[in-house]
Assembly symmetry: C2
Homo-oligomer: 594 residues x 2
């Protein structure tokens, strides 16, 4: 049940796919040298492997628990969180002005992956705090920033996102929590929020809740929603903590997985009103929330990569040790370790290929985010921003969907032992199963991918990505080995299918919206597979050039890409067909016919 951070693959991606070298030459990222990146990653690996990873199983067996409004976290979490904050890990990507390290998202993404691979439940607290910091930095007043951000960065306080209510999940237009203005410019909040991750806990001295609520007389729907900051303990002008605010945790959920992460029901205003201050302008709450949602969605995508990697490591360790059955090729009469059997190899390669492909895609997207902020050329900034924005729903949706599949394969590799909880393989599936749901289900990601990311610019960003993929196909044509031939064939078919689907989506969205949205999730999956395959194709090219330097690593990389081409990219035409001709049957089935 140990975890070994995949530092080699992380650095390979940074060096050869995400151009860390080029990134470190951009203004503001001068400190993000190769040496720094490696040092940060090695330190993160040590911390997460030694301190956090051992807590993962403990958190599953001794979940955080609620008693009279207080939540006691899993034994060991308080000490690990203290070490996390002392190590400065909350601030990796945040501005130095508030106490952060100001490193690129590319490097922070690797840190996020390691923390989540060590323990999804533990990592969720910093993940939400990151979102709160991001929202405050973007939309908060200078006073709000000064009052809250340094404490969030230091880890003295943590943050939460309060969106969901019993009747308002995917549809935030239905939010009913009220915020009543007071004479002093503050608000009193009243309402119930559910599914609040780390909404109550014992890791920090204060919890900063960001809450969506309606002001009196605000319009119906999303335009009437504003964003409020509601601390668990009020903060005095000198920064010290004041009275307990009127927000209380009335219960936490009994969940399938991530059991150490307390999922709170929070009651606001049962004793006179919870004091809050508005962030930014009235009626723009959802817009601000999307700032933190975008960061959180990307991070949840990394949770998918992380748990997939951990599940793969676990299954591989078992497959290397379990002896069962002779080889099918008759090469020996004795039973062998199951890692020799073709079907077990197929499963392990599928797990590895999907994980590495999703990782490469996410890191490349993170680097685009960095360039979108730091590049000197405004046109390039816009192109990089469009690329990143396109990738966010793909990274979130695909990495999490594949993580469920990978974790399930991990159980299968274990055979009967996989079903026994003590083995540990089942926890990854239980934990991973929330990832395609929270921070927006895969369908919500797919709606975003279609509406805001594909259709809004008439498919321009999508076709620009296709053109980049075509360049990689040309490069593959220069390399005459079986892996590159297979990859070129499958990647080309995948890219062409992607373009067909983009044209279908853009062309039919107005006239046949039901048909287009019946294919929304298949479209997202198609994008996830094609783009992951593209990054593995680029990895293949880089590894072919480098293989003499480290044949063990690069040969495996080439084979992994080859496998992805033949076993995963081959699924793309199926998804295309389902999208292009699958809408009619879905539309024909009236709700009353089920």
């Amino acid at each position: 049940m140990t975890y070994t951070a995949p530092l080699k693959d992380m650095l390979f991606i940074m060096d050869h796919l995400a151009d860390l070298q080029g990134l470190s030459q951009l203004p503001g990222f001068e400190e993000a040298t190769r040496d720094t990146a490696q040092a940060v990653l090695e330190e993160a690996a040590r911390f997460n492997q030694d301190v956090v990873a051992p807590l993962n199983v403990i958190g599953d067996r001794e979940p955080s628990h609620w008693h009279h409004g207080n939540v006691t976290t899993t034994p060991g979490f308080r000490d690990a969180f203290r070490q996390f904050t002392e190590g400065g890990w909350q601030g990796v990507v945040h501005p130095q002005a508030y106490g952060g390290q100001g490193l690129p998202k590319l490097i922070a993404t690797a840190c996020t992956e390691m923390l989540n691979a060590a323990s999804l439940s533990f990592a969720l607290c910093p993940l939400l705090t990151d979102g709160v910091i991001e929202a405050l930095l973007t939309a908060g007043s200078e006073a709000q920033k000064q009052r809250f951000v340094p404490h969030l960065l230091s880890g003295a306080w943590t943050g939460t996102m309060n969106l969901t209510e019993p009747q308002a999940g995917s549809d935030l237009a239905l939010v009913r929590t009220r915020a009543e203005p007071q004479a002093d410019g503050t608000y009193k909040l009243f309402g119930t929020k559910i599914f609040i991750t780390y909404g109550e806990h014992d890791l920090a001295e204060n919890i900063v809740h960001l809450v969506l609520a309606r002001t009196p007389g605000a319009p119906e729907g999303v335009k009437g929603i504003s964003l409020f900051i509601v601390p668990k303990f009020l903060v005095n002008d000198d920064g010290s903590l004041g009275a307990r605010n009127d927000v209380h945790c009335v219960s936490i959920e009994h969940k399938l997985g991530i059991k150490a992460s307390p999922t709170a029901v929070l009651q606001y205003g049962d004793h006179g009103g919870a004091m809050g201050t508005m962030i930014g302008e009235e009626g723009r709450g959802l817009e601000y929330m999307f700032i933190m949602m975008n960061a959180a969605r990307f991070a949840v995508g990394m949770q998918g990569v992380a748990v997939a990697d951990r599940a793969t490591q676990h299954a591989l360790a078992y497959a290397r040790e379990r002896v069962q059955s002779r080889p099918v090729d008759g090469s020996t009469k004795d039973p062998v370790t199951i890692v020799h059997h073709p079907d077990v190899k197929r499963m392990l390669l599928a797990m590895r290929a999907m994980t590495e492909g999703a990782r490469a895609l996410a890191y490349v997207a993170a680097a685009a985010h960095d360039r979108a902020h730091a590049h000197a050329d405004s046109g390039e900034r816009a192109r990089q921003a469009a690329f990143y924005e396109f990738m966010v729903p793909v990274v979130k949706g695909w990495s999490t969907e594949m993580s469920v599949e990978v974790a399930s394969l991990g159980i299968q590799v274990h055979g009967g032992m996989g079903f026994i909880e003590e083995t540990g393989a089942a926890q990854y599936l239980r934990d991973a199963r929330i990832l395609p749901i929270y921070e927006g289900t895969t369908a919500i990601q797919a709606n975003d991918l279609i509406g805001r990311k594909t259709v809004r610019d008439g498919g321009a960003t999508a076709h620009a990505i296709a053109a980049q993929i075509a360049v990689t196909e040309t490069e593959l044509a220069q390399l005459d080995i079986p892996a590159s031939r297979a990859m070129r064939q499958r990647l080309q078919a995948g890219r062409e299918a992607f373009e067909q689907v983009v044209n279908f989506v853009v062309g039919q969205i107005k006239s046949h919206p039901n048909a287009v949205f019946a294919g929304s999730v298949p479209y997202l999956k198609l994008c996830g597979i094609v783009f992951s395959g593209w990054q593995l194709a680029r990895a293949l090219l880089a590894s072919a050039a480098l293989r003499e330097t480290d044949p063990h690593f690069h040969d495996a990389k080439i084979i992994t890409a080859h496998f992805f081409a033949e076993h995963i990219l081959t699924q793309v035409p199926a998804l295309r067909d389902a999208i292009l001709s699958g809408g009619e049957a879905v539309d024909a089935m009236r709700p009353d016919m089920f």
Copy 2:
């Protein structure tokens, strides 16, 4: 969390796909009329809906537990089991000579599905007992049959299958349990068996263990294994129970799902030896075990159909009730129940289509089993037997793999609520996850499909099935509606891919065994999809002819088939490509390279 047995679909399949009418004209099945079938199914539905289904959640929350060697089952199980046996449900398919009802497997299969949909955990006890009865009837001596079968049929005693040992799971050649012959012709058994379903419990007064063990001096490997009958309590000559035998339950497992079903570690012979008698001839134990395994594998396939149906019903009920978001086509400004949203419909249709396709395939296979036994013509018996044998690994492998996918989709339909255990959707995934593992993992089924079912007769049975599918394609061509056009196109592509793969498997098994077995599970899935699609195509044709009589049912059936064609059958070329060209990468990855 209620369960409604899908009687209409079951009877539709029996009438129009499995030819119950024809079956009831075969010698021995005269009593299996349409009226009898309907009466038995309705009675089974009442019992399972009212008595067993409510126990499903209770079994998850209050699992069977172990104390000092005894196992207390979930509250309510004892009473339900008493009603199960009093209703004669253990004997539906077994000979009247021993107290059974002698009904066709076709009808028994529907009963099995309902019992398992009501509660997988509860149904496992009768499932294993069925296998023991089948093995005794086939290989037992007349004395053994008389002594054990009536008690097993009445439910006074239950049965278990003891194959697995810590070092011997998929590879039974590694079995080490010893059986030492005694002067009186009995044996004393010594060893440890694990993963023994209902190996100990409080539902019946005796437990009949069938145990694989080695006799002294027996050859290495599978040929040295014999089968023994080892009752928990010895049976006196007058049929009364005697002394406690030396087999003891030392623990039960803590599992991901099916928690009410006790999974025992059984220790044989720690106190002098467990008394057993040999079944059939020495050294033929594995052969006999395969008799019961074949029945059990088919039944586990039905467990897949069952839990998939229950998960679908659960998700549909939620989707009909949960209001969230406006329709994407703008048809109203108000939020609607989520069953109106295209992606939710897509998920529900996928769940329904996979479930109904797998059900139809299993029932058609069951009817072939009946004809293989009862048909007057020996050539027809052989053809039906070959068909059934081919289908067993497909029904087991595909129905269980798809059940995991369906249960996972069921969680997704629920959104965040799906992750909360109280909702009940998560249990189906946890329960279903064992199905592709026990009674032979999907890889083991796939090996059987390749070795014994496809290659042994040079692909003859496989090509005969393809020819039958081609007939259905011709019939589809006579019906000019969108659903039949789509189905014909996709089914033809699927059938052609199946034939290509069969030729590849038969042609390459000797020269490239590793490449063939790297595609074994994809081959099994391809078969599952093509054959399920074939049965839904036949259902489409029947429903098109009948739609006037019941448009609500038949239109939904036609749309379900249409959906299957465009969303599931479209996956077949991807599987074919992975099989035909995916072996090279798997082979290239040496175990040390992972």
